[in-house]
């Protein structure tokens, strides 16, 4: 390899056990199920896998962003009433040059998967990136 990776040996975290939906027995035809944190998270990761488009991956590593703890379920904030979603992600190393790409791919994914009324806000977690301001 000529250039070498910026972060050659990232810490890989075990995938966290998914929170299982408890209210799946909701059979009433007209109850509204609002879009929530878990659903956004699922949009970003699992439900898509079945459809040929891969998980969003860290552009530098073969691990998915979840395994690297770049994105976690808690980093997603969503308010269905106000049509607002904010995703905060944490790059693996401070000077990660891929932060922009990660941010963009998350944005595109959400834009394609959420109703157009949503405002999507992607942020870099405070203090985790050298050029924090440049990203937003």
């Amino acid at each position: 390899m000529v250039s070498g990776l910026i972060n050659e040996n990232p810490t890989v975290y075990e995938r966290k056990e998914r929170r299982v939906r408890t209210d799946s027995s909701n059979t009433d035809e007209f109850t509204v199920e609002p879009i929530d944190q878990l659903e956004i998270f699922d949009i970003l990761f699992c439900s898509i896998c079945t459809y040929s488009i891969v998980d969003i991956r860290d552009p530098e590593h073969p691990y998915s962003l979840e395994q690297l703890k770049v994105l976690t379920e808690d980093s997603v904030e969503v308010d269905d009433g106000k049509s607002y979603v904010r995703v905060t992600f944490t790059p693996t190393v401070e000077h990660c040059s891929m932060a922009t790409i990660i941010g963009l791919s998350v944005r595109v994914k959400l834009m394609r998967s959420l109703p157009p009324r949503y405002k999507i806000d992607i942020r870099v977690a405070p203090g985790s990136h050298a050029t924090e301001a440049a990203q937003s």
Partner: protein, 1119 residues
């Protein structure tokens, strides 16, 4: 000569290496078939091939030899001349020396050696020569994979088929084997190689003068380096051999001869101490094999090293929690890992084979510490994990050793049981008639959970070792248990009784202990009859004393069931008597009395579960239920309170759900059930006044269900007796008066639901009997019955209509009324009676509509209510006719369709609700019913009846839809069509996709207007999705793509049913399989709709929408 010409051609093509492998295979096949048919003899072939076999061109010669070898392979079954075989064997043996044609030579040798039970075998001398040649000139490990495999196979076959010849070769063959195997790495070859070692060791079993004894060390070195097996390349090769299989072979090879013992056991013990799970498991398995094969004498010297290693393996499991759940009552109560399981097996094997091994176990300090551990904590929950582990492992060690043999069991009981009893403070007691109660002794009992667990495990483990015959009752362990049995049972009883609801451990251990004592059955059981009955009494009293479903209740019930089925399995007559007396009679009498603190459904559950363990109990139970039913029912109509009638319906439900499914398993159950049904009728007959409310309605439902099913399972004779009984009841009631009501419009118009509740019950039950009866059963007085049912369904009793449908469906030749007559009564009689009320004669031409029934349906006379009832009734009658394939159903269909027209023959449209009923009548006609007219109730079903109806009605419905004028009639026609289409097998739809697709699409849009039709809409949508995915439908789908997409897009926002939206979106995604050019123009439209669906209130729809959108976006970006 043509054959020979062809032969040359084939030979040329095979020998030519530049041709493709398929060419080679073809020519091989051609030559082989001519050889098999006898057109060509092997001699001729050899002569023909002379040039190829002797040429100096190495490549061609190799191919030639291979061809000859392959031919022999094909002729394995064909008798050949001995001389030919001999010369061929000589030829191939000689060719082994030429490395260039070694493949052919090996294949040829193998083919010859493999010949079995046919004329022309290789002689032993030839075989020996062949083996020698191979050993001399073939370097196995320098060959390619396939050739190596053939080598090993050849060696294997030689060893298997010519053992004498191989023994003659002595050392040579052992050397050769070592050399051949050394360094082999390929699993398929190793499989054979390990087998070769096994065969080889079988050749030389005697210890003296065996060439193996000297070579054992070398040979073992060669195979032991594979242990424990580990695959480095696991992926890619699906055809390869699973690790387990190869490992099993290796283990067999290692354990194959006692000569390996000095080398094998140290190696295995060393591997056992490794931290690798695989190594441990494999060593334990292999040790197990070795213990069997090497024999006690050789193993004895290793015991000292073996026991600590084995103990470590036993302690290796991590799970320390004992489950106190219901499911573990009959199992050890904890999970065993793989290592643990193998270790347990090995321990049992060792103790079984040599009782002296038990000495090590018994003297082990760690095992002996157990009493201290036990007495340190009284509750299991309080113990630290280490103590839990200690208790679980030690109890397992002791149990496994005890289970191994009677002697080991005796020894364990002698050494440990006394100590255990001491720790628990349980003293010996002698049962002498009445039990002597010694207050002091019970007070000093210290019920440590750990001790109880160990005690229960020991008792459970030893239950299979009870001597079967009376004379050997002096078995020491039995007498030990016998001395303690009274106090043990008392101890367990007190544990259960002292337990609270929240502490399930007490209840669990107590019940499990009682169960363990109760299972000690057999000729000379240490538990006497009176003690056994005491156990049963205790468990039964636990069941009856509860007020709600608790853990204790469920445990006790499960224990009773276990004991019941155990008694049945070992057919213990005396115990069965006790069981019957104590448990069954007690519970059954509870069911009868119904004055008990236990809720009635729980009594029923307990009774039915317990009694289903043995046919005799079931018999008793049905009798008890019958009694219970009679007493509750009479209690109800005498006193009029609703509690007994609720009990009755629960009882009937229990009969339907628990007993009826088992009717084929239990002999004689049918008879009791029929008796039950008849006494139901008797009760109803004797009840004079009868009125009910809501709970009564439930009772009628339950009674109908039970009656239907009992009649359904009963034999024809029994059916006849039930029918006769029921008919007598009917005739004695006021119902026959209804038969005299003339089937005229004026009389029918005056009808209301004015039956007394008793009559209604009788009528419903009678209808159920008719529904369940088989065609062979004889119905009395069918004509008046038909009239009775006609009148009652026009009064609004649906079961009557279903019964009528069953009658016309099953009416046979044997009955006193033919089908013709029956239909005559149903459709025409009113006219025959001369009541001509028809005022307007224009409709006479319309098929079938001249009958009274159809006139009512068409609304000529009477209220809407009467009309809808008539339509529903007509549908059920039609269903009966349709299933037996009778043509009259066509008339009925026509009448029903007439009802759906916007303006029918009388010029005015029907009432909307009548139309709705007429449309739904098609659902009744086409769908499978749970309630009547199915296989369970002996319906006469003609094959393909649905298809026939489909082909008759669909064209008419189509043309009606085209010509319909009002939107209502159009929608209703679509509903009817949807019912027909969605109930016909999907293959029929696929055959007619072209014609049907436009109709389906139109139907979908028509049905999507109203929320009432949502279920119908969904089933129609499913039909559509079925056609989308099938190849047969694809052409017409592609032709109609624009319409389909338009329709589906509309359905993605269908408000009333989520599954419709979901399915519509899925269908849209499926459409992407169509040719790109067809669908591309619609992408904007689809994407718009799907984007809207992203905001759907339901999550599942949103998920589908995301997938669908992704898929459709990708076709746009690709272009």
């Amino acid at each position: 000569m043509a054959a020979l010409n062809n032969l040359t051609e084939h030979l040329e093509s095979f020998v030519d290496v530049t041709r493709s492998p398929s060419h080679h295979a073809d020519s091989l096949k051609a030559i082989a078939s001519s050889l098999e048919k006898g057109v060509l003899s092997i001699n001729q072939l050899v002569v023909e091939m002379d040039m190829y076999l002797t040429t100096t061109d190495d490549v061609i010669r190799a191919r030639g030899i291979l061809l000859l070898a392959e031919m022999l392979n094909h002729l394995k079954e064909k008798p050949l001349d001995t001389a030919v075989v001999q010369s061929l064997a000589g030829f191939f043996t000689a060719k082994l020396a030429e490395w260039k044609s070694v493949r052919g030579a090996l294949t040829g040798c193998l083919a010859l050696i493999k010949r079995k039970d046919v004329a022309g075998l290789v002689t032993a001398t030839d075989a020996e020569a062949m083996a020698k040649a191979m050993i001399k000139s073939v370097q196995v490990q320098s060959l390619a994979l396939h050739d190596r495999k053939i080598c090993f196979e050849l060696l294997e076959c030689l060893l298997e088929q010519y053992p004498e010849a191989m023994i003659n070769m002595g050392n040579l063959i052992v050397y050769a084997t070592c050399e051949a195997i050394d360094g082999e790495k390929d699993p398929p070859c190793l499989m054979i190689a390990f087998h070769i070692v096994e065969l080889l060791t079988q050749l030389f079993p005697s210890p003296s003068s065996s060439p193996l004894a000297a070579e054992a060390s070398d040979l073992f070195d060669i195979i032991s380096c594979y242990f424990p097996l580990h695959y480095t390349h696991t992926k890619g090769d699906e055809a390869s051999i699973p690790r387990e299989e190869l490992s099993r072979r290796l283990s067999l090879a290692i354990s194959s001869t006692p000569f390996f013992e000095p080398y094998a056991i140290p190696l295995l013990l060393e591997k056992l101490s490794s931290s690798l799970t695989v190594a441990k498991v494999d060593s334990l398995r292999c040790l197990n094999d070795c213990v069997v094969k090497y024999g006690v004498n050789r193993m004895k010297k290793h015991y000292k090293d073996l026991w600590p290693a084995l103990k470590d393996a036993l302690y290796s499991f991590t799970e320390t929690d004992l489950s106190f759940g219901l499911e573990s009552l009959t199992s050890p109560g904890f999970e065993m890992g793989e290592i643990h399981r193998e270790a347990v097996d090995l321990l049992q094997r060792l103790v079984k084979q040599d009782i002296s091994f038990l000495g090590l176990v018994v003297d082990d300090p760690r095992v002996n510490m157990i009493s201290d551990t036990i007495s340190r904590y009284s509750q299991f929950e309080d113990m630290p994990d280490t103590s839990k582990l200690e208790i679980l492992v030690v109890s397992q060690i002791l149990c496994v050793s005890a289970r191994a043999s009677v002697e080991s069991c005796n020894k364990i009981f002698e050494t440990f049981f006394f100590r255990l009893m001491n720790t628990l403070g349980i003293v010996e007691k002698v049962s002498s008639g009445d039990l002597v109660h010694n207050e002091n002794s019970t007070a000093s009992i210290k019920l440590y959970h750990g001790g109880l667990h160990l005690c229960i495990e020991l008792l459970t483990a030893s239950k299979d070792l009870i001597p079967s015959s009376e004379e050997s009752s002096s078995t020491p362990w039995c007498s030990i248990v016998n001395r303690f049995s009274v106090s043990l049972i008392e101890a367990f009883t007190s544990v259960v009784q002292s337990s609270y609801d929240e502490c399930s451990a007490d209840a669990y251990l107590g019940v499990k202990g009682l169960l363990a004592m109760g299972m000690l059955c057999g000729g000379s059981s240490p538990v006497s009859k009176s003690e056994f009955e005491k156990i049963l009494k205790t468990l039964t009293s636990i069941i009856t004393a509860q007020r709600a479903k608790t853990v204790k209740w469920e445990l006790a019930l499960k224990a009773l069931i276990c004991m019941g089925s155990f008694i049945d399995r070992y057919s213990e007559r005396e115990k069965a008597m006790s069981y019957m007396g104590v448990v069954v009679e007690n519970l059954v009498s509870l069911a009868c009395s119904s004055h008990c603190s236990l809720p009635y459904p729980m009594i029923l559950e307990a009774t039915s579960e317990v009694c289903s363990t043995r046919p005799q109990y079931v018999e008793k139970m049905v009798q008890g239920f019958e009694e219970a039913f009679c007493s509750s029912f009479s209690d109800f109509y005498v006193n009029g309170n609703s509690k007994p009638i609720e009990n009755c319906s629960q009882l009937l439900e229990c009969v339907t759900n628990k007993l009826l499914p088992r009717v084929t398993e239990i002999d004689g159950l049918e008879k009791f059930l029929v008796h039950f049904a008849i006494s139901m009728w008797n009760q109803i007959e004797s009840s004079v006044v009868f009125s009910y409310d809501v709970s009564g309605r439930e009772f009628v439902e339950a009674a109908m269900k039970t009656m239907r099913q009992i009649v359904g399972v009963a034999l024809v004779d029994s059916q006849n007796s039930i029918i006769q009984k029921a008919y007598n009841v009917i005739s004695s009631s006021t119902l026959p008066a209804m038969e005299s009501i003339p089937l005229t419009f004026a009389a029918l118009e005056g009808l209301h639901r004015d039956l007394s509740t008793r009559d209604e019950l009788i009528l419903s039950l009678f209808a159920s009997v008719i529904i369940g009866a088989s065609p062979k059963a004889s119905l009395p007085d069918v004509k008046s019955l038909i009239k009775l049912f006609m009148v009652s369904f026009l009064k609004g009793y649906i079961p009557a209509a279903q019964a009528l449908g069953s009658i016309v469906n099953k009416l046979g030749i044997s009955s006193d009324c033919s089908l013709e007559e029956a239909c005559d009564i149903i459709f025409h009689q009113s006219f025959a009676s001369g009541n001509n009320i028809s005022s307007d004669d224009t409709d006479k031409t319309i098929c079938g509509s001249e009958t009274l029934l159809s006139k009512i349906c068409l609304g000529f006379y009477g209220s809407v209510d009467l009309q809808t009832r008539a339509i529903t009734g007509l549908a059920w009658i039609g269903k009966g006719l349709l299933m037996r394939g009778d043509g009259r159903v066509n008339e009925i269909a026509l009448v029903l369709m007439e009802c759906l027209k916007s303006s029918n023959s009388s010029g005015n449209a029907l009432h909307p609700s009548a139309m709705k009923h007429a449309a739904d009548a098609f659902l009744i006609l086409m769908s499978d019913s749970e309630v009547c007219l199915n296989r369970k109730f002996h319906a006469v079903i003609r094959p393909l009846y649905k298809q026939r109806f489909f082909s008759i009605t669909v064209p008419i419905l189509e043309s009606l839809i085209v010509n319909s004028q009002t939107p209502l009639s159009r929608t209703m026609l679509h509903v009817a069509l949807a019912h027909v289409i969605s109930n016909v097998p999907v293959t029929v739809i696929l055959d007619n996709t072209k014609k049907l697709l436009p109709m389906i699409l139109e139907g979908l849009s028509a049905l999507s207007v109203d929320a009432v039709d949502k279920e119908t809409l969904f089933s129609l949508l499913l039909v559509l999705s079925g056609t989308l995915t099938d190849i047969k439908g694809q052409q017409s789908v592609s032709d109609n793509a624009h319409k389909i997409i338009e329709c589906l897009v509309k359905l993605t926002s269908y408000r009333h049913l989520m599954v419709v939206r979901e399915t519509a979106i899925q269908c849209l995604a499926t459409l992407l399989e169509l040719p790109h050019g067809r669908i591309y123009p619609f992408r904007r439209e689809v994407l718009q709709a799907v984007t809207k669906a992203l905001d759907d209130p339901k999550r599942r729809v949103r998920e589908e929408a995301i997938k669908c959108r992704q898929a459709w976006t990708s076709i746009t970006s690709r272009s």
